[in-house]
Point group: C2
Chain length 253, copies 2
């Protein structure tokens, strides 16, 4: 969302957060696939012109199977992130951190090596990073100790690029950068993903004109209270927050 605001300031945004069922990071591929399908169907029912899977775990497990069922264009965050990493890498030694689900899926490995077949990809799940960020532990001593343990094997492998493969991780960027050292470029997929969005909207003649006044809607599946608190750490445009139950959405539709 922050990157959309920066690169495409005229676009309206309808954001859905599945707060009644998160985190997705440790859930099975089938369950995440069902949740992502329900969320996409819900967004489509609200007449969006494009769907962005702005979650690495949902992209890893669900994008390939859900994208073709949608009547509007869509993009995920993994291919753009892999592209950014390949562009930034000189030594072709790419590290990637993410949730247990994203890492187990092998989606980044596949995406990186599709672009750069002789790249070496070193992947490390960091399951405690999401709860740490949500509890405000972005640069505390326990967060540092946990991060050092997670990142140690990637330092040992001498990666030259590290993909922050989860939307929460950019909030840990300063700490991760200090641990990895100045020779490692940190990559997050937000910038590249929104470049993709801009390209797709342009190609399909769907780009909002410079005179349109954008609207921002935030919708969650659980109570808006906690969402407002945590979401406020990422962007400051959250106004009214609506609650919608999307369970079994596609089955009911």
């Amino acid at each position: 969302v922050r990157e959309l605001l920066a690169q495409l300031p005229h676009e309206s945004i309808l954001y859905f957060g599945d707060t009644a069922r998160v985190p997705y990071g440790s859930k099975s591929p089938e369950t995440v696939r069902r949740y992502a399908r329900e969320a996409s169907d819900f967004l489509v029912s609200r007449d969006v012109k494009m769907v962005v899977f702005a979650c690495n775990t949902a992209t890893a497990h669900a994008f390939a199977s859900v994208r073709d069922t949608l009547p509007v264009p869509s993009t995920g965050v993994i291919e753009p992130g892999a592209r950014a990493a390949v562009e930034a890498s000189r030594g072709k030694r790419v590290g990637v951190i993410g949730t247990a689900g994203t890492i187990a899926s092998g989606a980044y490995d596949l995406a990186v090596r599709r672009l750069l077949p002789d790249a070496r990809v070193y992947a490390q799940p960091c399951p405690l990073f999401v709860p740490l960020v949500e509890e405000g532990h972005v640069d505390t001593e326990p967060a540092r100790l946990i991060a050092e343990t997670y990142l140690h094997p990637l330092k040992e492998q001498d990666v030259d690029v590290l993909i922050l493969g989860c939307t929460h991780y950019p909030l840990l960027r300063a700490m991760i950068a200090r641990i990895m050292g100045p020779s490692v470029t940190l990559v997050d997929s937000a910038h590249e993903t929104v470049r993709d969005v801009a390209r797709i909207l342009t190609e399909q003649n769907l780009l909002a004109g410079g005179t349109s006044k954008p609207a921002y809607q935030f919708i969650v599946s659980d109570s808006p209270l906690r969402f407002r608190e945590i979401g406020g750490r990422f962007v400051d445009i959250i106004g009214e927050v609506e609650k919608v139950d999307v369970e079994g959405y596609n089955r009911a539709a």
Copy 2:
């Protein structure tokens, strides 16, 4: 479950874990209530003779409203835990730790002061304890640092009893005991809860006879794989695990 096996070895157990939607700890009261109602209705549909809310957050938000809608007897973990704490307390200074939801509900405060009106209850949410336990951080340096921060205000208040108000916390018992010191009695509700179960089953003439061979069934809402791994840290009787989708269960029924 461990305590049921110890105190009521002839009883069969049907365990349901809502792994597709956990954790409950940071979710809203309404959402947890809906989930608890779906889970209870599902268990009743499988012909259980009694329902135990073996989760503090579900008990705190949902037990009072769901219990009366069930056609079988039920019990939660908060009243038994409060009773055990009151029995163990000499100084009437009771500490309680739990999820954000359990603590915000004030359920332990209410339950303790109903039994001992002049007790002082000091409550502290420990939202990182569940993810730490699930990631195997039961006595590591970062877990200790986080626990010291959480427990510091309770030590300052000089509590003489500390209720472990979440079913994951007994796995952190040794660490918590060391931090609180030998003058603080740690209480978990499992033992008292199963004493309640035994009393209710006896009163209603529902107790399994000494000749019955107990059966154990484990049912989850997400893939059994991760459940088997984490559940194995608590008990060693987990055999076959069945997956059931209980979303919207009571609406469909």
